[in-house]
Symmetry: C2
Subunit: 408 residues, 2 copies
């Protein structure tokens, strides 16, 4: 079944860019040809609307509707890059909706009291360089430029080299000290990556918080052996405690009302007729608060350690990333909910387990999020989908929010 697609010229012109015909999903990795095509699309969309464009030194793209004042601007947007074989909505919906909201405001004769900006942050997914929200992290100063330049992709290409290949100067990346004073607020509209809104019967929602989340690497070291001759009792098979960890991650998440996933695994040497010498795997875990998250991870690691010991396998775990709880600015959140209610839009407030640029920027300026209903809840997949009328409801909600925040 071909889902009905949002009938919008801006959306239609973006849809073919970076899509893999075979997989059906998107491969819009930062600083590649697909990424350049998306950047061109952004600049064209801005030019068509007579917006002033600006590429900042961290590779983030901005389009300004100037207001003839020195007031701090209100920004809306998201990102254009994708996970491997990602969907059409995660990221792009926020950028397209921001441009469309400006169209709606202009049609209505709205005159902004402060500049309104559309933004597309670079490398939000971290699909190429392994660090999520890299563009907003650099601008917020939460990652050092030196460390960022040395990040490498799967082929060993550094961020510095990739930026150079895309005609950008990585020597200038780093914190944007003026961000907090030049911008009064940032509102990120995003497809919901779950189906809470669908359950509530709402087309749009307002973000309350981003769950604390992190990534842990688990290393199981056993002993390579012949699968056809080594007695069970003589084996030191690292695949067995790994399997226990996978199942415990699910059980622990259930126990704590959280989320835990083990999807990436590398078995060495990985032959069909041998026992592996090592299995390396990653745990992604998220919970409503730090306490639950720590309890969940402890539970998985304890099980992994005990199972490893049972099988004569050594075990080591390392935390690779950690993002603390983000509470979106409460005053801004209230203004959004109230303005939407005045416009007749019921927007439930909900937390999310996914990281977003709005979460990163929350440390330097008031940020908020709008979610658009995702009936299946599927995301990071070609099957990700939002109905045309819900996308339109998102644009309307964003127009209401921008009127509230940038109006006289």
């Amino acid at each position: 079944m071909q889902a009905q697609v949002w009938d919008n010229p801006l959306w239609r012109s973006l849809l073919p860019l970076g899509r893999d015909e075979q997989a059906g999903g998107y491969r819009r990795y930062s600083f590649t040809a697909a990424d350049a095509a998306c950047r061109d699309w952004f600049v064209q969309a801005a030019l068509q609307r007579n917006l002033r464009t600006e590429a900042d030194r961290n590779g983030n793209l901005w389009a300004f509707w100037d207001a003839g004042t020195e007031s701090a601007a209100v920004a809306a947007g998201s990102h254009l890059d994708s996970v491997p074989d990602g969907g059409a909505f995660d990221g792009p919906l926020g950028v397209v909706s921001a441009f469309c909201a400006i169209d709606v405001l202009r049609e209505r004769g709205f005159e902004p009291a402060r500049p309104v900006a559309v933004v597309a942050f670079a490398e939000e997914e971290g699909a190429r360089f392994g660090r999520a929200c890299l563009g907003s992290r650099l601008s917020s100063g939460v990652i050092e430029p030196e460390a960022a330049r040395e990040l490498t992709d799967a082929d060993g290409v550094t961020l510095a080299q990739a930026m150079a290949a895309a005609g950008l100067d990585s020597g200038r990346i780093g914190a944007d000290a003026g961000l907090g004073s030049r911008f009064a607020a940032f509102v990120e509209l995003h497809i919901e990556q779950g189906s809470v809104l669908d359950g509530l019967g709402a087309a749009v929602g307002v973000g309350e918080s981003i769950w604390p989340h992190g990534r842990w690497r688990l290393d199981f070291a056993g002993r390579a052996d012949h699968a056809g001759t080594t007695r069970l009792g003589d084996r030191r098979d690292p695949m067995l405690p790994f399997a226990c960890a996978v199942l415990e991650a699910r059980a622990a998440a259930k126990d704590t009302g959280a989320l835990a996933t083990m999807s990436k695994v590398a078995a060495v040497p990985g032959g069909t007729n041998g026992i592996n010498s090592a299995v390396r795997a990653w745990l992604d875990a998220r919970a409503p608060d730090d306490e639950h998250l720590i309890r969940l991870v402890d539970q998985v690691m304890e099980t992994a350690r005990a199972a490893a010991a049972t099988h004569g396998v050594s075990f080591r775990a390392e935390r690779e990333s950690w993002s603390p709880l983000v509470k979106f600015d409460l005053e801004l959140q209230d203004r959004l909910v109230t303005a939407l209610a005045h416009a007749g839009i019921t927007a439930p407030v909900l937390p999310t387990g996914a990281g977003h640029d709005a979460g990163v920027l929350a440390s330097v300026l008031p940020t908020a999020m709008l979610f658009v209903r995702n009936p299946s809840g599927v995301s990071h997949s070609p099957a990700e989908y939002a109905a045309p009328q819900d996308c339109q409801a998102g644009v309307e909600a964003l127009a209401v929010v921008l009127t509230e925040l940038a109006g006289r």
Copy 2:
């Protein structure tokens, strides 16, 4: 600890060939430069002993000690290729020991009544083209030449292309109809790939049978999703039933007194922060008889199917290979045990779970196996090891056997 290396010039000259300095193990893949070096070594060893060499049309190497008679020959040997990062003994020990046994026999003034041959079979491990015992299978006529030529390695190179690159003509591969009449027996000496002999306190043993064994592919198809937002109840995560299958394989093997291993796994797309759309894995299973093997595999598949259903994941299993029980020629086995006993060598009779060229050739001529003690039982690993005195005991046992089989 550097294991004491068998102090033998033939052994020492073979040791460096195809060894990966970093991994410490061997990567002697068929028709590569490492393989060519091993083949040169074989020819040099034969020339030094004034043996007539012959490369048959299937890439197997032969060295003949002619007896001036038309009698059927007795062959001894094994293979020189390795699994990825394999040990020094699996294969080479049988070839080196055969040359050394000839040295021993000549020192003792033995005059053969029939030709004695040393053989190194091609692609025994199947590490490059995925089909174990390819050289002996071709010669025995149990694999069609057309099918063999189209086998591909991990880079998509066909056997035909690889043989051509090594200066061999794949157009001539196929069954050797005269094998059964030209050879009276084949005796394969091999390091034990387990520690049964060590438990019995014996340096050498005689093969009784090769357990039936096979390989099955398990395909779990779920749905790609965001790891940070998709509710547990909405997930279709293929990693969970895979983990259940891994643990069931171990449990079922224990229940049935058999062996089962899951080591090769491919998760797609395999990102850290997404749920996989698919997991493909392989089961290697071996048991004393067909009935136990079938019961074991059924048990694993039932658990996998049930776990897949629980998690909304589809499941499909396919048998990729199947080798029935091989009983080595009982008369030949008895002659070996008796001759060894007469020479004062106690050689217990034992089955093995590993496939061997002697098992394949058993369908066309009487074959037998000699095993050399492996104190740790470790094989298919750089840590594989046999003590020098046990290797020497193996040479002595093989000399006794050749005297029995090729004597006047």
